[in-house]
Symmetry: C2
Subunit: 511 residues, 2 copies
Amino acid sequence: MKTTETLEKIRAADREQCRLGKIGAALHWDMETYMPPEGVHERAEQLALLESLAHAKLTAPEMGRWLSELGSSWENPAGDESLAARDRDLLRAIRRAYDRAVKLPADFVSESAKARGLSQPAWAQARKDNDFAAFLPHLKIMIENARKTAQYWGFGSGGKTLYDGLIDIYEPGMTVATITPLFAVLRDRLSALVKEIGRREPPDASFFARDFPVEKQREFAGKLLEHIGFETGRGRLDSSAHPFATSLGPNDVRITTRYFADNFLSGVFSIIHESGHAMYEMGFPAELHGTSLAEAASMGIHESQSRLWENVVGRSLPFLEGFFPKMKAFFPEQFGGVGLPALYRAVNQVKPSLIRVDADEVSYGLHVILRFELEQALISGELAPEKLPAVWREKTKEYFGIDVDPAGPRSDADGVLQDIHWSMGAFGYFPSYVLGNLYGLHFWNKIRRDIPEVDAHIAAGDFSALKAWLGENVHAHGCRLEPAQLLEKATGEKLRTEPFLQYIEEKYKDM
Amino acid sequence: MKTTETLEKIRAADREQCRLGKIGAALHWDMETYMPPEGVHERAEQLALLESLAHAKLTAPEMGRWLSELGSSWENPAGDESLAARDRDLLRAIRRAYDRAVKLPADFVSESAKARGLSQPAWAQARKDNDFAAFLPHLKIMIENARKTAQYWGFGSGGKTLYDGLIDIYEPGMTVATITPLFAVLRDRLSALVKEIGRREPPDASFFARDFPVEKQREFAGKLLEHIGFETGRGRLDSSAHPFATSLGPNDVRITTRYFADNFLSGVFSIIHESGHAMYEMGFPAELHGTSLAEAASMGIHESQSRLWENVVGRSLPFLEGFFPKMKAFFPEQFGGVGLPALYRAVNQVKPSLIRVDADEVSYGLHVILRFELEQALISGELAPEKLPAVWREKTKEYFGIDVDPAGPRSDADGVLQDIHWSMGAFGYFPSYVLGNLYGLHFWNKIRRDIPEVDAHIAAGDFSALKAWLGENVHAHGCRLEPAQLLEKATGEKLRTEPFLQYIEEKYKDM
């Protein structure tokens, strides 16, 4: 009886906390899509208020008491074994968030928030000015605070590195020890492939730069959503400076893209990518809605969904076979004289560049591995932040074969300053992008075994079996399973690089 | 010292409560503009959570204690005379809201909310089915709860009627005793004018029903906003089923309109109307931002702003003189052969109809007065709700000269069931619409005295002096003054019908 009451209190607090998060997501979405520019100051205050209310709810002393009453502790987060499995999962999720929150001293939290508030605009300005030195003092503080955070959480001893503590934020259960050998293999084989492809004749992708009026692209986006079966009753597509997906509620998941008149591909594949994220968020089962369990298992699993849709499905021959006629019917002049083989080669063009977010499917991983290696060294203290730009250039040469002139006008802007993550103190996030590729190919291979005719489905524009598979095997778990458990349950496999490498080497062999 | 501390606590609680309100406004705006349909259930929960958090903040026991500590009570809401004027105004505003909230028993509040939740869909269905009897039981409960609410607040004795208590929600300080003689004069003279105009040859307004493609109207709306100087850095315009204006923050005020391909006028004048509301919300001074004082003085004062812009300015000859060339340049075919005098007559066409929201400037007031008389009688108990439809038809005949067939297919749908207000229990709101017209003409006459060349400004598309006047004399006060005080301070006058009646009779004399 007491147990039921306590559980009910925890559930109610969790519901409220989750709901405040969804409200915050709505305000964020609005900020990135429609908010008039001068609304930004009050919006920041509104978001801060929601966060503090949610934080207060999570870290209330009674929450700690209720968790203890049900046997949940740091060592045994899921609580009494007599509880139902879903309740134990919920306790585990809440305990994890609770401990992470209460183990950070209030002073440290507010000082970190202030430092981040200074760091982000300093980074934006430094990137604009190509001035790493101006960002360096902030970067040092971000590194130091990330280290302290991991320390407060008990990392940095007992075989757990500080960087493990940061990875664990985004990828529960993942460690440097697991990632390092995987990334080492990936790095060597992807780097070799990139260089090998670089020696080939590049495909003709010039037709994508023909004039695709933005208004027409916007209209065409509706056809794309329809083709892939994006549920417009439960979501919508808008434009923003950077594409993203966000959940405002179980039946309200929004994605954005951006349109360039001279880069038709960008808008299309952003939509497919973000739709992959959106379908995950839409796919949590009703019994988890409104709880802390209606969350992605990890950032990597999230990326596995978006990248599977964008690259493995969206850039495949069967997909283009089904979709190209629609593209051609809508843009007959722009695609005049273009055949399917040419289109396929063009959407899969490998062209190593300095910028991660513009990278193709093959070289993308190298950008991430470079950052993983650097941030690991920054957090461990092996690499002095002062040396970052030089080491960045060395690795760029090594992995991509690209020479960067240190005296060039964007030497650091297009290098060490290109990503926002470190300016926010988000160390440990980057590996998830590549882990997503790896998970995705494990899933894909299993999908091919379970649905042998999946290519034919995709060519016919029928994604129902594919979606059902992802729904049952990935989405339905919310965050009840850690990524490694989810992978094993869905595929019977442990994380390896081979599925991804075989896929990519096979795909690009004769491209 | 103690006083300063207590004041600071009240201010902080008030800031949080106001901010939660603005967050709710953002969610409402989204719900009416972009939200995917299936998001509605979770959105309702989000809004309910925000409301309950704001309510808890306002009615916390410590709030009562703090108010008392500063000498604020039911009898002396503004607290100690030693406090600064603005603090006293803030205490008055908070005390008003606090008392209204805490005087309602918790059981009653939750039962009322439940009853409203049932009443609204029942009304919507009843309107669809033209079935007053189906709505009647809900209407009775709404009336009873409105009566109880006023009773809990101490109305219904000591010379204050129950209906006074309801009017006071929307129009602080206003009473039935003040309104009744004003509305009696209005009713007779407006009714006479409507009937007199009805005997004239109607103007030709057929060109407004020419084809105005919605996409073109949407584009043209930008020109209209530019023409009237709507600050797009601090606000924006979207589409929704019903036009509205809402403030998401001091520098983020949004308006909506709707476009009909065969009714160009509707979109244009909705935009001007809602812009009038928006300018009020944008005009609260910085020192009141984020407090309970950054609110309209009343719904009537709010309407004075929207109606002044829509009718007195927007439908005037000088405004059309300045704006018609832009309309004509954008829609050359649609306005082919139309001259300014014809346009002026067309936008001011008087055409009594059954529907309030479609009403012209002259007959609009009659719709409101009809409702005022009926709801007053419903709340006092003089009129049995069963008799509403019949009495409604009698008054419709009397005021508009329109016969309604009680057996017609929309006899009640376009009659007693047309407005949403009563289904929400919002008795006492209607008078504000007409009070807005009255306040507006008091303001307008003073504006003409203070800015003799205002017509020339308007014709030249220069609204700066007009806006500055409204800003200084109306907007700058927030809700620090009650409507009657505000009117007196701005114009030196007490509320009368003459300014409005003279304006309207003069305008329509030779139309």
